[in-house]
């Protein structure tokens, strides 16, 4: 067969796989594997670009691609009152989450670590309070707020008053500051 056909077939396959990854409804995460979350857990507590590079983990990738996980994250964000400090991602007493600046790293592993461990100046630690899967879902959602998730997986508007365009409508912003980019 001609090579364009191969390319088309390859593209279709990729789309299909992306579709599967995006649409899975995984209610129960398998027990965390060693090394998955570990790399990011040990990130530094101080801001700046000296943060250690998080290795893109399969876990991070999985949550980052999956529409259900991200939408669950959006739910926890509201239910756990993250808005109290990060009003709709726009920031308040906590930093804004929908811009490109990441004090403690913008990869999903970094964000998960930030939620898990807390950060100085007000971000509490939720370790033990928010189960691991929910932390990853929250982190995936937080990334999607700046457009850093596949567009079809990003949440659309809620059935509520909407302060601005939904995550799906935002243009992806590069992650600046903190550690280097996590997996897209």
């Amino acid at each position: 067969m001609c090579s364009p056909c191969h390319k088309v077939a390859g593209l279709v396959l990729l789309l299909a796989i992306a579709g599967c990854e995006r649409e899975e409804r995984e209610f129960q995460s398998p027990p965390p594997q060693s090394g998955d979350a570990g790399a990011a857990v040990l990130s530094t507590l101080s801001p700046g670009s000296s943060a250690p590079q998080a290795t893109p983990s399969p876990t991070g990738r999985k949550y980052n691609q999956n529409a259900y996980h991200i939408s669950e994250g959006k739910r926890w964000f509201r239910w756990f009152n993250c808005n109290g400090c990060h009003a709709n991602g726009g920031g308040g007493s906590g930093p804004a989450l929908m811009d490109e600046k990441w004090i403690y790293g913008g990869s999903i592993e970094h964000i998960a670590a930030t939620i898990r461990q807390g950060r100085p100046n007000g971000m509490p630690s939720f370790d033990g309070k928010i189960p691991e899967q929910q932390i990853w879902q929250l982190a995936a959602y937080v990334r999607s707020m700046s457009g850093n998730a596949p567009k079809p997986a990003r949440p659309s508007r809620n059935d509520a008053l909407n302060p601005g365009p939904a995550e799906q409508q935002r243009d992806p912003l590069p992650t600046v500051g903190g550690a280097a980019q996590g997996p897209r």
Binding site: F27, W79, I130, P131
Partner: protein, 338 residues
């Protein structure tokens, strides 16, 4: 009308022989459900009769003796009998119309009767549908008398009750077959359902409008008490949660307040004030857990807390990473929340 209803009730009862009595939808527990059931039997009687007549007529037309084929063109066949057929068909259509008018009128009469059942002195209970549980609030008596519970509605017998139904997320539908019809809970509006219960008892129901993954496990229980028993229940529910007794329960309370539980649940009288999951102040007094998916036993509660996703896949209660000591102590604590 009455005889017909009885007859068809008897026929249907035959169908159900072997089952445990009448299906819930035909076993009324209050005047509203009684009127609906009466109308149901009346319609069933008429419709059964109509169906039987049609099938008999069909059979008769197939079996009737026919003259030998006279070889005439099919176009002329039966032309001699067409006039009488026209008369019969016209009469049948007329009869159909009359039957339909009768049925329509009886439906209206029942509808009006249901509307008149509404008493003036009603107790209002607010029901809010959540994916996948029912929030129940009693707020008639002002702030001091406001009570929140979940998945279990208690009402006094013989008192008119009005449910005001809302939804917090998607459309649900409130349905307890034995108290009468159902009513949807639609986001953005408040619907009402009125009923009175005659007999004390426990009546089961579940969400009737498809609402997502755990639509099948969104059960609710209605408990009808005699008046004084209800008052006792109500005042005991108004109290804040008991302080834990014993070391294990105290440890359980600590675990409850320091682990995930506190993020979503309220236990009045403790710092736990989460508003997004059922109020657990008196959870041990309820008859079921997980929206009546499991009975309220220590084992079932343990199974539910240890792995909610195994009981109700997709439910919003996550699996928490509790070790067995924590789990046991939390169970001990919750069991004291009578």
């Amino acid at each position: 009308m009455r005889t017909g209803s009885r007859l068809s009730a008897a026929i249907l009862a035959l169908f159900l022989a072997g089952c445990t009595g009448l299906p819930a939808g035909l076993d009324p527990a209050g005047p509203a459900a009684e009127m609906i059931t009466g109308l149901f039997w009346w319609f069933t009687a008429i419709c059964t009769a109509v169906w039987a007549l049609v099938v008999l007529g069909l059979g008769a037309s197939l079996l009737r003796a026919r003259p030998a084929d006279d070889g005439a063109s099919p176009l002329d066949r039966g032309s001699a009998r067409r006039i009488s057929a026209t008369r019969v068909v016209t009469a049948l259509v007329g009869a159909t119309a009359l039957v339909l008018v009768a049925l329509t009128i009886s439906a209206f009469i029942t509808g009006r009767g249901l509307a008149q059942l509404r008493g003036e002195q009603v107790r209002t209970i607010e029901i809010t549908g959540h994916q996948w549980w029912w929030e129940v609030r009693y707020s008639d008596g002002g702030p001091a008398e406001t009570l929140a519970t979940a998945n279990e509605i208690h009402v006094p017998v013989g008192e008119a009750v009005r449910l005001s139904l809302r939804s917090n997320d998607v459309i649900h539908s409130f349905w307890i077959p034995r108290i009468g019809g159902k009513q949807d809970l639609v986001p953005g509006q408040v619907n009402h359902l009125d009923f009175t219960i005659d007999k004390p008892g426990i009546y089961r129901g579940q969400c009737a409008e498809f609402c997502g993954f755990q639509h099948a496990h969104m059960g609710l229980v209605l408990v009808a008490h005699p008046r004084d028993e209800f008052e006792r229940w109500f005042s005991s529910q108004l109290k804040p949660a008991q302080a834990p007794r014993g070391a294990e329960a105290r440890a359980g309370q600590q675990a409850f307040l320091s682990r995930s539980c506190v993020m979503c649940h309220t236990v009045r009288g403790t710092p736990a004030g989460g508003k997004i999951a059922p109020d657990l102040t008196h959870i041990a007094s309820r008859s079921g857990v997980a929206a009546n998916t499991l009975p309220m036993t220590r084992g079932a509660l343990a199974a539910w807390i240890a792995d909610p996703q195994a009981v109700k896949p997709g439910a919003h209660m996550p699996r928490t990473e509790l070790d067995s000591d924590e789990l046991n102590s939390i169970l001990a604590y919750l069991e004291q929340l009578k």
